[in-house]
Symmetry: C2
């Protein structure tokens, strides 16, 4: 495990808060070692730093009361949805209280006429889509994991559909937030746009629980498209695949998904999902629209892909074939792990301007080879966002050290290419040094905002900021 | 004119700043009454409150130096682009220095492969589109006036195309900003998405010059569509037209523009533009896409409109007919003024959930009639945003008093319907009381941010916040 710095603990305050919460919440307040560890970081390679207790909140009012109790004794507060964050966001480096919102899982309101809904933060994206399906609606953001909507908002999540539907920043209309002093605010109205003052919605989206606890989310929804078509296309090189992606974006083709799998991932997928794809870089696509519209999009993509040496291109509109194709993509994580049984997969998450994507991915492939690392790449290519997954033997210190060199190099390269060290996973604990490299003096503004809103520094300390 | 509260002036500091700036900028620093009045509020009914001097800045470095000079002497700073804001944003209620960025009008970089560009804040949207045309690109945000990109970012502008392309919040990738202490920051990388810390880009977009001065803007661009088609359709009632709009949005039809003109506006447009449209509520539309795509969109709209009593529906793809149709919309302001020669037009700007649009517009029509006011309505209907333009005899105090009652009622109604007092014009001076009505305790968070970033309170004082 990679060490995460421990912060100074306020033992007296924590002791007092534990007593108060135990008395108020009874069985809904837990301090067992196992449950506390489950509520700290459990993904990838950052060490687990458990909170001192976990409260299962059931209402905004309860969240407010917990925050007030913690604020009264200077005790850290960490919000917890499903625990699928990847950069140590739920760790408790100074101890404190984890507020688990998984029982706040109601869809409070669906306004079909306005294509919006209001949900509690513990609703997961799959649960929401199950709820919406009968009304012909869906919520498009798909970060892979069945994450909670509150957590997705807090990390500014996105995923495979972002090229068409945007990220959480584009799909959250309004938030209810409990501030560090326990006050409850609503950041915006339900109007589809507004120029009413500072954009607190966007300030809270991506703030990773460091400015407040999200207790309600109002989301934009989409109508389920009349037709959906999927396709795959092989390319001789990563460069050729990336050039095809750039052509798609420049053409304005409204692809719903355009995912890049490098040759190593295709090899892994073939082995895992019993497929026979050519083991060269692959683009997987999805088109949404009318019957005629998706047919036209598929045809246009075929013509563009051919210009860049695309082969084996085939589009399908049957749900069965489409699901088979995308299942392979969704299983890519397991397929990659199977490349090296027993290894730990460490996710990276850089995002660059699309014109730099080929350079960034080829560079990442070469750097992995140079360092003797196995690091297959999948990418949300239409956004310039890609994940090299390091498959590591965590018991081999030389390999772990090389992986740290690789991650550092990868983030620095993305920044040098005009991109970001995180397209969608957030900063958390893992990427704090890179935030400063990426944004320089702008980070001082973030620190000033943090101090203004959370002068005690109790909201998810040790995350995002230096 | 409606009074705008004057704030306390720091006479000594202003005197010192005037001396310093005169020495440093010579002829590029002006203090004549006429130029100062031109740099204060000149639109609609809020009184003119001129700054003490106007500096024509030519670089980020110069803006930084001006800000440092003003900060050293506690002197207010007001950024100025084209002066087309509508809520008194450029007034100087405590005096101070107007920084005119109209000479910072270079397109610094166009990255066609990434569909983005970097511009100075004084570039206007029309100048930008002229610059981009040869490369097959365009910047879609169209607030009507040929506003500066910096000003559009500062007020979170949008306009007719927002239903498809979003607002400035969705189309600004990154900003360079001079902070209240003169430091220069960049808010984000050029990547299309990022989860790197607090979203300072969106915090600055819509902050109306109260947190810093925007000195560069990195924008998302669009490819000019292969085909563009326009259409108009008459409806028996506002309700019927709004129901058709709701059907379009629910269907997911990607209309580029869908504008509502109420019967009074149609009457005005007929008279002004020599047209013979039925004098009932009208929807004006534009479709962007492939040839087949726009044809399909137009056909689908026709079918939806027919369900709600739409008549006289015709779509056209010829540029000449399309321009004629949209010219009528663009001339609506002049057409409305001609309804009452010599009157002053006062713009309103509420935005409600689309399901509430009919109720809001009909209510606005009825309220105007009740108060004996002439207030034709045009709306960016796909967003639920509409403007009732009050045509006022400013010499009639009863009428002006009734207009104030109307505006107050209109904003309160929008808030009560789950909407906002401003869809795209911003808060400025005019809407400060409504911001608190709309967002309550969230405004305290805005105040805390303002105090953290601008503790001296020198950036555009008297705007947005209570």
């Amino acid at each position: 495990m990679v060490q995460a710095t421990a912060l100074t603990r306020n033992e007296d305050g924590i002791g007092l808060a534990l007593g108060i919460l135990k008395q108020q919440f009874g069985e809904r307040f837990q301090t067992g070692a196992s449950i506390r560890e489950q509520h700290a970081h459990t993904t990838t390679w950052i060490m687990n730093q458990p909170p001192d207790g976990v409260v299962f909140a059931q209402s905004t009012q309860e969240v407010s009361e917990i925050v007030k109790a913690c604020a009264a004794h200077d005790v850290p507060i960490i919000a917890f949805g499903t625990g699928t964050s990847l950069e140590g966001q739920v760790n408790a480096p100074a101890g404190g209280i984890s507020i688990d919102v998984s029982q706040m899982n109601k869809v409070l309101e669906v306004n079909a006429g306005d294509l919006d809904c209001r949900v509690q933060p513990g609703v997961t994206r799959m649960a929401l889509n199950t709820h919406l399906r009968d009304q012909g609606l869906f919520f498009p953001i798909d970060p892979g994991a069945d994450a909670s909507i509150g957590g997705m908002a807090a990390t500014r999540a996105s995923g495979t559909n972002a090229v068409r539907y945007g990220t959480m920043k584009d799909n959250v209309l309004s938030l209810e937030v409990v501030l560090p002093n326990g006050e409850i605010i609503r950041t915006a109205s339900r109007a589809r746009k507004s120029s009413a003052g500072y954009d607190l919605t966007r300030l809270m989206v991506g703030s990773e629980g460091t400015l407040g606890i999200i207790t309600e989310v109002t989301l934009r929804l989409q109508g389920i498209p009349e037709a959906i078509s999927a396709a795959s296309c092989s390319f001789p090189t990563v460069e050729a695949a990336c050039e095809a992606v750039m052509a798609v974006i420049q053409y304005g083709l409204p692809v719903a998904r355009i995912e890049l799998l490098d040759a190593l991932v295709v090899k892994a997928v073939n082995a895992y999902s019993k497929l026979t794809l050519p083991e060269t870089p692959l683009l997987l696509l999805e088109f949404h629209g009318s019957d005629a519209g998706v047919a036209e999009q598929a045809e246009t993509f075929g013509a563009l892909a051919a210009e860049f040496g695309g082969t084996g291109y085939a589009a399908t509109t049957t749900a069965e074939e489409r699901n088979k194709l995308w299942q392979a993509r969704h299983d890519a994580y397991w397929a990659m792990l199977a490349l090296r049984p027993g290894s730990k997969a460490v996710a990276t998450d850089v995002c660059v301007p699309i014109s730099k994507l080929a350079e960034a991915v080829v560079g990442a492939n070469n750097k992995a080879a140079e360092l003797g690392l196995i690091a297959p790449v999948v990418g949300h290519a239409g956004d310039g966002n890609f994940h090299a997954s390091l498959l590591l033997d965590m018991d081999n210190p030389v390999e772990v050290a090389n992986a740290e060199i690789y991650v550092s190099w990868l983030n620095d390269q993305a920044i040098a290419l005009g991109g970001t060290c995180t397209g969608e996973h957030g900063i958390g604990q893992g990427k704090r040094p890179y935030l400063v490299k990426e944004l320089g003096g702008a980070v001082d503004v973030m620190v000033a905002i943090k101090q203004a809103l959370d002068p005690q520094g109790i909201m998810n300390p040790g995350k995002i900021l230096p």
